[in-house]
């Protein structure tokens, strides 16, 4: 087991595409570290560079104390699970699991023992004599995970391993992976574009955009105080409402008159945008205390909650999360007020968190 250090990673392809601009990561021993970002943000390239499947243009990668820049993938002592499971199609489950061990040249008895152990951990018993094409997507993914396990590597690298599964299975596997990682205590780097996956799995999350790290933090930090407008718009479903505000009389006020609790140390000399979570807003009867006049544009009835899209004074639509008991019709005149604590506030021009 080992931590992973990535320093000033830069990857430029021969055709001129810059996949990773500048990435620094410090992943702790035993940590489940998630890299999250939209497609093309460089997360997969970073992971593949850690695996040794891509050679970075510049920058250093250390696994444990070893500088692995010039080591081939096999000598980095890591295991990787792919989005497309990459089980060898001509091998039965048992042989797929044994394959990396046989490649290492381990004695037969130990190979069998380790395969049995991994099969027990991932509950693959009945599947051991099947070939990949006779396994369902979920089963294939469990086999792929088991194949990573048998190596007893210093770190697991997961490249969007759940993307090809259906929603229900994905939630199950998520739990399973988290449990497994906790049990084994092995460092895991997990790449995904699914923020729910990132939030539920990660000890820490790195949000990447355009080949750069926008923010690294625990799921709660990332959710509560996104470090940039990009993160603010990326995390949360629906995402944060970004409302242009100005400071007046010690309050934060939007152009529609919506009043927000101000965070301390606000700079006054620039344009500001407040990031307001949908659950920090409330749709009220028109004219309720502290509310501004607004109008319901549409409502999404999700059963356990209702997402109202509300227009407040022509200042753009905001999304408000309300319990299913509070019901307003579309087009109804309503009030809108802020109920949460001080929201994170961003500089309009730099798009970064200022308070």
């Amino acid at each position: 087991m080992a931590g992973i250090e990535v320093n000033a990673l830069h990857k430029r392809y021969p055709d001129g595409t810059v996949a990773v601009d500048h990435v620094d990561l410090s992943i702790g021993d035993g940590e489940l570290f998630v890299m999250l970002g939209p497609s093309g943000c460089g997360k997969t390239t970073t992971l593949r560079a850690i695996a040794g499947l891509e050679r970075q243009t510049t920058g250093d990668i250390r696994i444990g104390d070893t500088l692995v820049n010039d080591l081939p993938p096999a000598e980095r002592d890591i295991a990787m699970v792919f989005q497309f499971y990459a089980l060898y199609p001509h091998l039965r489950t048992r042989d797929n699991l044994a394959f990396p061990l046989r490649a290492e040249g381990l004695p037969k008895a130990e190979v069998n023992e380790r395969v049995e152990e991994a099969a027990r951990l991932m509950r693959l018993g009945p599947l051991l004599d099947r070939r990949p094409h006779r396994l369902s997507g979920g089963e294939q993914q469990r086999v792929a995970l088991a194949r990573a396990l048998v190596r007893r590597p210093r770190a697991f690298l997961m490249d969007e391993p759940l993307t090809n599964l259906d929603a229900e299975l994905r939630a199950d596997m998520r739990t399973e992976i988290k449990h497994l990682q906790g049990e084994l205590g092995t460092t895991m780097v997990y790449v995904t574009h699914d923020q729910v996956e990132a939030m539920s799995l990660g000890h820490r999350i790195a949000i990447l955009n355009k080949g750069r790290v926008e923010q690294i933090g625990t799921p709660l930090e990332v959710y509560d105080r996104p470090a940039s407008l990009f993160c603010a718009a990326f995390i949360g479903s629906p995402p944060m409402n970004l409302i242009e505000v100005e400071v007046a009389d010690g309050k934060l006020r939007s152009k529609s008159g919506l009043v927000l609790t101000p965070p301390p140390n606000l700079p006054r000399d620039r344009g500001l945008v407040a990031g307001v979570r949908p659950e920090a807003l409330e749709v009220t009867e028109p004219g309720a205390e502290g509310s501004v006049p607004a109008r319901v544009v549409s409502a999404e009835w999700l059963g356990d909650e209702i997402i109202y899209v509300v227009d407040h004074g022509g200042q753009g639509d905001v999304r408000v999360r309300m319990p299913p008991t509070v019901r307003f019709d579309a087009d109804a005149p309503v009030g809108l007020r802020h109920t949460g604590g001080p929201p994170p506030v961003y500089d309009v021009s730099t798009e970064e968190l200022v308070a």
Partner: protein, 303 residues
């Protein structure tokens, strides 16, 4: 000969694609269809049938006027003449058939050995100006052989490659490599790169990963590509007739063409030689017909 091979490729999928509704309903239409198709097939296949018929006719029946369609004497003399000269021993035609086998076989193997790894590299790696390179490679096939045959002839004369089998092998390989690269790239694209990634993590080098995991999955594609390359080399006429002259080097197409001319033409021998010439490729194409269709329709449907 290529005509009949294309036939073999294209009729199969056409039949398979007939929508079920048409197959069961509209009996009148299907009778009409069958009639039209029969007439078309008869017209298209007539030269082939006539060739086969001529190859087994006695000479006097071959030259009979009016032509005899059914009532003729069957003989295999012409086929004997294809392989054996009148004085005993091997005929010059049989030598040219052997030359065809060597030239087409070796050039196909060379094109495959060179083209498959190149296709793999173009498919897997980020290469500088990849699209331009691929277009350049394809562009070498834009010109018909007859346009480049004179410069090639001059170059070959300098290099001493005129009238050698090596010369033909080289030029056929050069013509087949671009085709092999383009066709194989499609097949390689279909094989997920993750197999190689996984194998590399399991301790193989990139080349070992390619050989052990990707290559076996590519075999059907390689078979299809090689057949197309083989058909090209086997049928090629222009280069063969310009670049070779002696009987010991010439391939079958110019040798058969050489039978026509002079005062009399032994049509029976020409037909028999043509049948012998057409058979190997027909048989080969029939054996790999599924892969041929895969090759033709590759990329037409996205998963």
């Amino acid at each position: 000969m290529a005509v009949s091979i294309n036939e073999a490729v294209s009729t199969d999928p056409a039949r398979d694609r007939t929508p079920p509704a048409r197959r069961f309903g509209g009996r009148g239409l299907s009778v009409l269809e069958i009639a039209v198709l029969t007439v078309l097939a008869a017209v298209m296949l007539f030269p082939v049938l006539w060739m086969i018929e001529t190859s087994i006719k006695e000479n006097r029946d071959v030259y009979a006027i009016p032509a005899k369609f059914f009532d003729f004497q069957v003989t295999l003399d012409h086929f004997k003449d294809v392989f054996f000269s009148s004085g005993g021993g091997r005929s010059s035609l049989s030598v040219s058939f052997l030359n065809s086998v060597v030239v087409a076989g070796v050039s196909t193997v060379l094109a495959t050995v060179l083209g498959v790894p190149a296709a793999w590299a173009y498919s897997r790696f980020a290469v500088k100006a990849k699209k331009d390179q691929l277009f350049f490679i394809l562009s070498t096939r834009f010109m018909p052989p007859v346009v480049v045959v004179i410069p090639i002839f001059l170059m070959y004369r300098q290099l001493g490659l005129i009238d050698t089998k090596l010369g033909l092998i080289l030029i056929y390989t050069a013509f087949n490599v671009p085709f092999t690269i383009w066709m194989m790239k499609g097949f390689v694209d279909e094989v997920p790169a993750e197999y190689e990634d996984a194998a590399m993590l399991d301790g193989y080098t990139r080349l070992q990963a390619f050989r052990r995991f990707t290559l076996p999955l590519l075999l059907p594609g390689i078979a299809a590509t090689a057949v197309f390359a083989l058909i090209f080399s086997w049928n090629e006429f222009v280069f063969a007739i310009f670049l070779t002259s002696s009987d010991s080097v010439r391939t079958a197409p110019p040798a058969i063409a050489g039978l026509i001319g002079g005062t009399t033409v032994d049509w029976g021998l020409v037909a028999a030689a043509s049948v012998v010439f057409a058979l190997p490729v027909l048989v080969f194409a029939y054996l790999v017909r599924k892969h041929l269709i895969a090759g033709v329709t590759l990329g037409a449907v996205r998963r």
